[in-house]
């Protein structure tokens, strides 16, 4: 499988997390310094609104609500940026670097505690994911917890210190993992700690740092494609990734402050 770089979207400032819209309209949401930016399919800034605290991550729920992960809280907006709700928890939501959804719960990656928090839809804490191990959490030397959720509610968490993507049940049970260290074979993850970020769609999509690399794996861990290496600044790290329903892959270049878009090349 091959991909080509088809578009570069100017982030117009700092970029942390990105997410695609829920209904395949081609809109892209970005968590920026202290705001959410929405880019249309052509890469133009369509709208923006402020967040109360610096935005670390963003996710779009099935109902179109936009969830912004922040320091100490999550803010929930409607698609126009009107604030609907705020979940505050100085203990469980210290630095929310990823948000995701299962059918009946909301997941928040708290990098300050190296864990994924699971809440019911009303915000009641249910359980942690990724903490029940001898290390007391995910190994994230780069300070970002990132994960994706598949259609069966399986949670795929990047565990860069172990060079793995780990699979968890929503209740926190470790189901298995893909990935291994290898500094030569591109099927492996290199460096001290990769992959740093992950997205789930029809495959497991990952980003790595030093040198920056985007890859796709099947769900049994077989390498499907090295999507890109070259277009990124060599100093990039914690490159957020999102994949839309047309399998377009969006990746943040954290140095150039841009979102690079890749499309699958037909066989």
């Amino acid at each position: 499988m091959q991909y080509r770089h088809v578009q570069t979207i100017d982030g117009q400032g700092a970029l942390r997390g990105i997410a695609v819209d829920a209904h395949g309209h081609g809109e892209l949401y970005a968590a920026c310094d202290a705001e959410i930016k929405v880019f249309d399919a052509a890469g133009r800034l369509a709208r923006r609104w402020p967040t109360a605290r610096p935005a670390q991550s963003v996710a779009v729920a099935g109902d179109g609500a936009v969830w912004a992960g922040e320091l100490g809280q999550i803010e929930v907006f409607d698609d126009s940026g009107k604030l609907r709700d705020t979940w505050r928890d100085a203990g469980l939501l210290r630095r929310v670097t990823a948000i995701g959804f299962t059918r009946d719960s909301v997941l928040a990656g708290d990098s300050a505690d190296r864990a994924i928090r699971r809440f019911d839809r009303r915000g009641r804490f249910l359980n942690d994911i990724g903490k029940d191990n001898p290390l007391g959490g995910l190994l994230i030397p780069n300070g970002v917890v990132d994960f994706g959720v598949d259609a069966e509610d399986t949670v795929y968490a990047a565990n860069p210190g172990k060079h793995r993507v780990e699979r968890y049940a929503p209740g926190g049970e470790l189901l298995g993992h893909i990935g291994r260290f290898d500094g030569i074979d591109p099927a492996g993850f290199t460096g001290c700690c990769n992959p740093t970020n992950v997205a789930i769609r029809d495959a497991i999509y990952t980003t790595e740092k030093a040198g920056p690399r985007v890859k796709a794996y099947d769900f049994s861990g077989g390498l499907l494609a090295v999507i890109a290496t070259d277009p990124f600044d060599a100093n990039c790290k914690n490159m957020s990734i999102a994949v839309d329903s047309r399998h377009r892959v969006y990746v943040v270049d954290t140095v150039k402050l841009a979102i690079l878009v890749f499309e699958r090349v037909s066989a």
């Binding site: 191990n133 291994r180 500094g183 001290c192 030093a210 100093n235």
Partner: protein, 205 residues
């Protein structure tokens, strides 16, 4: 004839003042140096091995080759509070070497084997990746070649290892031969009060 100073007089006065200030400053500096009050120090933000943004280049080993002290007065120091304690440390392993049966790189990076890797706490026999590791630099072996520093810095690592002048070895030369050779001007002389902690950093419990 006017008593007002001419422009030439003014320039001459300024020049005399400047010369006196430089001589005075130099004299004060020399006195402080003679009293051991100034020291050489590596500026990590200038050293190419630790400076951010320099990736994919060979480590500079001028601190090893130029220092008049045996091995070098400059050694690599791991600041444990900044260390990720990773399973696979790019400063310890040659991460470009083939993977061995343990799933680790088969070669070490340090040409003098000066870094020791020890698990923190009890090793999980089922999964060695389920551990933190501490990386301890043996300064008796280290010659300050900078390879580990280059591999430790961001984005590959966390930048916990830097090169530092060890004051129990440094002869505090007037013209440090490393500073003369360093193209980055990364060796600088500072008053002791502004120098980094001259003694070794405490190891974790």
């Amino acid at each position: 004839m006017s008593d007002d100073p001419t422009r030439r007089d003014l320039f001459a006065a300024v020049a005399r003042g400047t010369v006196l200030a430089v001589l005075g400053g130099g004299a004060i500096f020399l006195v402080r140096k003679a009293n051991g009050q100034v020291v050489w120090q590596v500026d990590a933000s200038r050293c190419i091995n630790s400076r951010l943004g320099e990736v994919g280049v060979e480590a500079c080993n001028l601190c090893t080759t130029e220092c008049v002290v045996a091995l070098s007065a400059v050694r690599a120091v791991n600041e444990y509070s900044q260390c990720g304690r990773c399973n696979i440390c790019p400063a310890y392993f040659n991460i470009a070497s083939a993977v061995n049966g343990l799933g680790q790189p088969s070669e070490k990076l340090c040409p003098r084997d000066a870094i020791a890797r020890r698990p923190i706490g009890k090793v999980d026999p089922e999964d060695p990746a389920n551990n933190f590791y501490e990386y301890v630099i043996d300064e008796e072996k280290c010659d300050g070649c900078g390879k580990c520093v280059m591999q430790c810095k961001e984005p590959l690592g966390l930048g916990s290892i830097t090169l530092r002048v060890r004051y129990d070895r440094c002869l505090n030369c007037n013209r440090c031969s490393i500073s003369t050779a360093c193209p980055q001007k990364a060796l600088m002389q500072l008053p002791v009060s502004r120098a980094l902690e001259p003694v070794g950093i405490e190891r974790p419990e």
